[in-house]
């Protein structure tokens, strides 16, 4: 019997490892390309094992351009976006889940429609909204006269904050809380705001881990939007900075891949830290109506 279980375990383990290897394979290609010499890249023969592992490619790639600045920009944008979006979306989700008010359903479905169109489609109108943002960047109250939020961190951040998906998930999450929770708080004379802040927010760890991670990945990887909004080198994000390795006719594959690896590290580390809560968060948003 125990022998059978051991056999089962071994087979299972091997199977899972094989699958993981298949999934990991393209990423190995990424790593091996990153460590090749210019010459090897140019020779055109795509082999998985570099002649020599050139780890110095990674610092070399980071030496081309002002990468600390790009990382700072990306990190700043990501942190502000994630924090703001968590607060805004979860409070809206809380209201939709827990508070009775008129037009609740209509408003909720309105928000849900927002999940359905991709950025590319409304890109130009959104860009004009950024430029015509009232009272900032030299604009008057009607949004005329200046450049609005163009070439400004907020120009990148603001359109990314409101995220219907986050509202949806928060609503699901809070709906699973027992009703007695609010009632007890209400008896204590708490207002909706203090119920949210004192009771719900402290219980939202895993929700925030889940949403935060997804939003971080999403924001960190933005490309087209920062490209449109930023006009100076100082404002570049890491994803835009990758372009430096893609010339008109030549792609410096090794440095491009090396930089890609460095860029992905922060998100990866974050995932490793939050993994447990990430799974928990999805468990408790329930997906069980």
């Amino acid at each position: 019997m125990s022998k059978q279980i051991i056999m089962k375990k071994v087979i299972l383990k091997i199977l899972i490892i094989i699958i993981a290897l298949i999934v990991i394979f393209p990423l190995c290609v990424l790593l091996s390309t990153a460590l090749k010499s210019d010459r090897e890249i140019a020779s055109g023969f795509v082999s998985l094992t570099p002649e020599k592992l050139l780890w110095e490619n990674i610092p070399k790639a980071m030496g081309m351009g002002d990468w600390p600045r790009y990382f700072f920009n990306s990190a700043l944008i990501t942190v502000i976006t994630v924090v703001c979006s968590l607060l805004i979306n979860s409070s809206a989700g809380f209201a939709f889940a827990r508070l009775p008010f008129k037009g609740k359903n209509v408003l909720f479905y309105c928000a849900m429609i927002g999940m359905m169109l991709p950025m590319q489609i409304i890109m130009l109108p959104v860009f004009l909204q950024i430029k015509e943002f009232p009272l900032l960047g030299g604009n008057n109250i009607l949004g005329q006269g200046g450049i609005g939020l163009i070439n400004n961190y907020w120009g990148i951040i603001l359109p990314l904050i409101a995220h219907p998906f986050g509202v949806f998930m928060s609503r699901q999450y809070y709906m699973n809380f027992p009703k007695e929770l609010d009632e007890a708080a209400k008896l204590d004379g708490c207002s909706a705001l203090s119920i949210y802040v004192r009771v719900y927010l402290p219980l939202s760890k895993s929700l925030f881990a889940t949403l935060g991670l997804l939003k971080t990945v999403d924001t960190w990887n933005q490309y087209t939007w920062p490209l449109l909004v930023t006009n100076t080198k100082e404002m570049q994000t890491v994803q835009l900075a990758l372009n430096a390795f893609k010339g008109e006719n030549t792609v410096q594959w090794n440095y491009l891949m090396a930089a890609t690896i460095v860029i992905i590290l922060p998100v990866l580390v974050l995932f490793i830290f939050l993994q447990k809560y990430f799974v928990q968060g999805i468990v408790s948003t329930g997906m069980k109506d």
């Binding site: 990423l27 508070l99 991709p118 489609i121 207002s191 990866l268 997906m287």
Partner: protein, 285 residues
């Protein structure tokens, strides 16, 4: 006290809706209005009635792109869901420790589409790419991959599966954790085998998870764009062009923003239609 209760909920949703209205509803409204004009982004914006929509019906490339989008969704989403579920069941069975493998499988999800596309371009290279070399060592004939009109879209779908399967797995895993162990114990007592248990307990109880992934998955695969733009540019023979790619090229390369807006409206209608259908089906039961 009563008045306070009435205002409070709106205060909670206000920040979201203000930003959302400014950056989403107003632009979408503009897009819908523009779909009835010959707007070219710069000089003209005249009302042309339904002309854009009539032209769309005759636009073979756009109709092809709708077909491609559906095909991509079918080829990408369903296999990815099935594989994700199977993986979740495999990994979820607590026989072995899987912290690292789980992470490995999830990893592609955190990479940007731009980076992913670069890697897979390298794999799919028709001349001397990694995949062709592997086939060669196995004495099999290489393929043109993305340059072969018959399989190009399929190649994109495989990449999509690869990228999203880890995410689906994690979500299914958490769905599995939500199922009370009592069900399984009861099944064991009834003498149900693993296959039976899977079909009669796991699957039905995972339905909310599946519905959620299905809807969000349909939406995201209908919006597939970046990989198309980077890897194939819609070719060969327009076999990989998708709706969003068509909208993007019409709007930004040909300055036909009115026309592109009409396409966007069609896309919006299709996605809303599918979602309503989906909600309707799940609410019925």
């Amino acid at each position: 006290m009563k008045g306070k209760v009435k205002i409070a909920p709106y205060c909670f949703i206000a920040p979201f809706f203000i930003i959302f209205t400014y950056f989403y509803f107003v632009p979408v409204f503009k897009v819908i209005m523009d779909s009835f004009t010959d707007y070219d982004m710069f000089t003209k914006r005249n009302f042309v009635g339904l002309k854009n929509y009539i032209d769309l019906v005759k636009d073979e490339t756009f109709i092809l792109s709708i077909g491609n989008t559906f095909f991509y969704t079918a080829c990408m989403l369903f296999p990815a869901l099935v594989i994700g579920l199977l993986l979740a069941c495999l990994i979820g069975s607590s026989l072995v420790k899987t912290r690292y493998t789980r992470m490995a499988i999830f990893m592609p999800h955190v990479f940007s589409m731009v980076a992913i596309s670069m890697i897979w371009l390298y794999l799919y290279e028709p001349n001397n790419g990694v995949l062709n070399q592997i086939l060669k060592t196995m004495h099999l004939r290489g393929s043109k991959w993305l340059r072969d009109p018959e399989i190009a879209l399929f190649c994109l779908a495989v990449m999509g599966i690869w990228k999203s399967v880890g995410y689906y797995m994690v979500v299914f895993l958490s769905g599995l954790k939500g199922i009370s162990l009592q069900y399984y114990e009861a099944a064991k007592i009834d003498g149900a085998g693993p296959v039976n248990t899977f079909f009669h307990i796991t699957l039905p109880l995972l339905k909310p998870t599946t519905t959620f992934l299905l809807i969000t998955g349909i939406i995201s695969s209908f919006n597939v764009f970046e990989q198309v733009n980077i890897m194939t540019g819609g070719g060969p023979l327009n076999r990989t062009t998708t709706m969003v790619h068509q909208i993007y090229t019409a709007g930004f390369a040909e300055y036909k923003l009115g026309y592109a807006s009409a396409m966007s409206v069609i896309l919006l209608l299709i996605v809303i239609g599918i979602s309503i259908l989906n909600f309707g089906l799940t609410n019925k039961e």
